[in-house]
């Protein structure tokens, strides 16, 4: 699926460098030859079952959608308000995840300090605690009676029941996805390029901006997409911490839950809409990035090419 060789740029690169007498045998071969993979046949069966386990319920839900009134069901004021709010807050929390997640991932992947492992474990906590618990934790921290909320309240800042609270709840649950994804990419990329850049006279800030971030951009993007998708689906923490008010804090998942009370058809239609939005976002953004590191590896598969000796 994510084959670097299939990337248009990589292919173009290969064919451009192929000139007669260049000594290159590569290029022009559109079809990848069969390669041994070492995957036992039964793996395909179990994998297919696993895929079905995900896909069948989705199909079951889609089968329930009443297409005749679909547009009518999803275009009600409250549905539109919920969708717009969800997109807005998920976008905002994705930005927050990037702002805080990039430094965190950098520290976890590159830093050398005491308690690094503990820090990683703690940052990944939102992955394991139920979102409702996360919402409670936020409430006890930023709520009116909370650790920090009390001081904020005195300063006239009230977070609970606001759109800000929704964004915070989403950021809380989504941040680990970005950190995890980016940290992995950073570790895979290694520090060699950064070290070389430093010996060339680049200050740490320059190295980060011109080398590290461009190299891990694919990981950053996929992490951001995951964070966005997770934010879009956030329910428990939002419900607990932010409440539920149309246009202010009632996001799509809350609206779906509520619609189910009175109109299951509308709930199904909205669910389908939410999934469609998530699929489109993931599909569009996941296709764009291709690691420059991968392109490099792909270019080298042909081995050392003919040297152009002057």
């Amino acid at each position: 699926m994510r084959d670097a060789g299939a990337h248009p740029n990589a292919r173009a690169a290969a064919s451009r460098t192929t000139r007669p007498g260049d000594g290159r045998t590569r290029g022009g071969t559109r079809r990848r030859p069969w390669q041994y993979t070492g995957v036992p046949a039964w793996i395909y069966v179990v994998a297919a079952l696993g895929a079905l386990f995900i896909l069948l319920p989705l199909a079951g839900m889609v089968a329930q959608v009443q297409w005749g009134q679909f547009w009518e069901l999803v275009s009600s004021d409250s549905s539109v308000a919920a969708l717009l709010l969800s997109l807005r807050t998920a976008a905002a929390s994705t930005v927050l995840c990037i702002v805080f997640g990039v430094p965190l991932a950098l520290l976890l992947a590159r830093g050398q300090f005491f308690g690094q492992r503990i820090l990683r474990a703690l940052i990944l906590l939102p992955l394991v605690v139920p979102p409702v618990v996360g919402g409670l934790a936020l409430l006890y921290t930023f709520g009116r009676q909370g650790l920090i909320g009390r001081s904020l309240e005195l300063a006239g800042i009230s977070i609970a029941f606001s759109t800000t609270a929704v964004v915070m709840a989403q950021t809380f649950v989504a941040l680990p996805f970005l950190v995890l994804s980016l940290e992995g990419t950073l570790r895979t990329a290694g520090q060699k390029y950064e070290a070389v850049a430093a010996t060339l006279g680049a200050r740490p800030g320059t190295v980060l901006r011109r080398i590290t971030l461009p190299l891990v951009l694919p990981g950053l993007i996929s992490g951001a997409v995951l964070a966005f998708a997770r934010s879009l689906g956030e329910f428990g923490a939002t419900l607990t911490f932010a409440g539920s008010l149309e246009g202010v804090t009632r996001t799509m998942p809350l609206e779906i839950y509520l619609q189910r009370e009175t109109s299951p058809e509308a709930a199904v239609a909205l669910s389908f809409l939410l999934i469609a939005v998530a699929v489109v976002v993931v599909a569009v953004t996941y296709r764009v990035p291709k690691s420059p590191l991968r392109a490099l590896a792909a270019g080298r598969t042909s081995g050392p090419a003919g040297e152009v000796t002057p």
């Binding site: 990589a10 690169a13 290969a14 451009r16 460098t17 060699k192 390029y193 070290a195 070389v196 850049a197 430093a198 010996t199 060339l200 006279g201 680049a202 200050r203 740490p204 320059t206 011109r210 080398i211 461009p214 190299l215 420059p292 590191l293 392109a295 490099l296 792909a298 270019g299 080298r300 081995g303 050392p304 090419a305 003919g306 040297e307 152009v308 000796t309 002057p310």
Partner: protein
């Protein structure tokens, strides 16, 4: 104005002190794990020694432990360039921008740094690659571009860490002759396993083993009169150790080696050295003639250029393929290595 460097790295059991004059190229050689890369990385600022002092042209690079706080110049402030085994060209930048990266990072304008990059690409015969991406380069081309990139910052010291190790046999000679040209009159330290690199590029050889410098001297002297087994093996010489007495060397097992004293002070510990090409192989010990004869068992045969190298214990002999077939040489066969006294050089260790 020179480079002086001394460092102790307890974790890697490295304790080294060295000196490089301006315009001098020094080859650092030694077996794997000798600590060569630790030296390079400490100089580049990528690895911090436990203690030590390095001064480059009067500017301290580090002083550990220093007059509190420690002095430790970050890599970007050292003026030390590095060319490693892998080219490590930034994959997201064009060749031109890779080479321009150094000057640009040091504050040159975009235009000036690109001009400089073009100059250096021309210098390494890679001007026509300027617009390519690193993924479109062969290994040899990439390493040449990496060299241009390292040179474009005009480093006061250039470190080359096995720059040819990852290249195929066709690309290495070209880069080597290129390096010979650009390293002339440039201060550089080159870590290498290839004696050819040392011969062609270095003014001086430093041999490291077990984290220490075991031998150092002008390239020609070290290769013709190796004092360490490693240096001798580098030069492709057979080396025997023992006690010197005039024109014979008494080995610990009681055997005697006759040779030509090469002079030099010291002793009575000494070395006997002779090239494998001077060794003849026999199935039975030859009678008469003032020759040295060693009874050995063949360990392995390996083709080398136009001949076969026969290894037996610590010794090696070079014979023709025809001779191998005629004598029926194979691992396990008992043979006699014979070398004329005139081919053996004796000198104090």
């Amino acid at each position: 104005m020179s480079l002086s460097f001394e460092a102790v790295l307890a974790a890697r059991n490295v304790d080294v002190s060295l000196h490089v004059e301006p315009g001098e190229t020094v080859a650092v050689m030694g077996p794997n794990g000798a600590g060569k890369s630790s030296v390079v990385q400490s100089l580049a600022g990528l690895l911090k020694p436990d203690s030590g002092l390095a001064v480059l042209d009067g500017e301290p690079l580090f002083q550990l432990p220093g007059d509190a706080p420690d002095l430790w110049l970050p890599p970007h402030a050292r003026g030390v360039g590095l060319l490693a085994q892998e080219p490590l060209l930034f994959p997201h930048l064009t060749v031109l921008d890779n080479v321009a990266f150094g000057p640009r990072s040091r504050g040159a304008s975009r235009r000036d740094s690109r001009d400089a990059a073009r100059r250096w690409l021309t210098e390494v015969h890679a001007a026509e690659l300027a617009r390519r991406m690193p993924a479109q380069l062969s290994g040899g081309q990439a390493q040449r571009v990496a060299l241009a990139r390292a040179l474009a910052t005009e480093p006061a010291l250039l470190l080359l860490d096995e720059p040819m190790a990852a290249l195929d046999v066709n690309s290495a000679p070209f880069l080597r002759s290129l390096l010979r040209r650009v390293l002339a009159g440039r201060r550089a330290i080159i870590v290498t396993h290839d004696v050819l690199d040392a011969l062609m590029l270095a003014d001086r050889i430093i041999v490291m083993d077990g984290g220490r410098i075991v031998e150092s001297g002008p390239t020609a002297a070290v290769l013709t009169h190796p004092r360490s087994a490693f240096a001798a093996s580098l030069a492709g010489l057979n080396v025997l150790t023992g006690t010197l007495d005039g024109s014979t060397l008494a080995m610990p097992d009681g055997g005697l080696v006759a040779g030509q004293p090469a002079g030099g002070l010291g002793g009575p510990e000494g070395l006997a050295a002779f090239p494998p090409s001077a060794v003849s192989v026999f199935l039975a010990p030859p009678a008469g003639s003032p020759r040295n004869c060693f009874a050995v068992v063949v360990d392995e045969l390996e083709p080398q250029g136009g001949h076969i190298r026969v290894r037996a214990g610590a010794l090696a002999a070079d014979v023709s393929a025809a001779a191998v077939a005629e004598l029926g040489l194979a691992p396990g066969v008992e043979v006699f290595f014979v070398v004329k006294a005139a081919e053996v050089r004796l000198y104090p260790a």
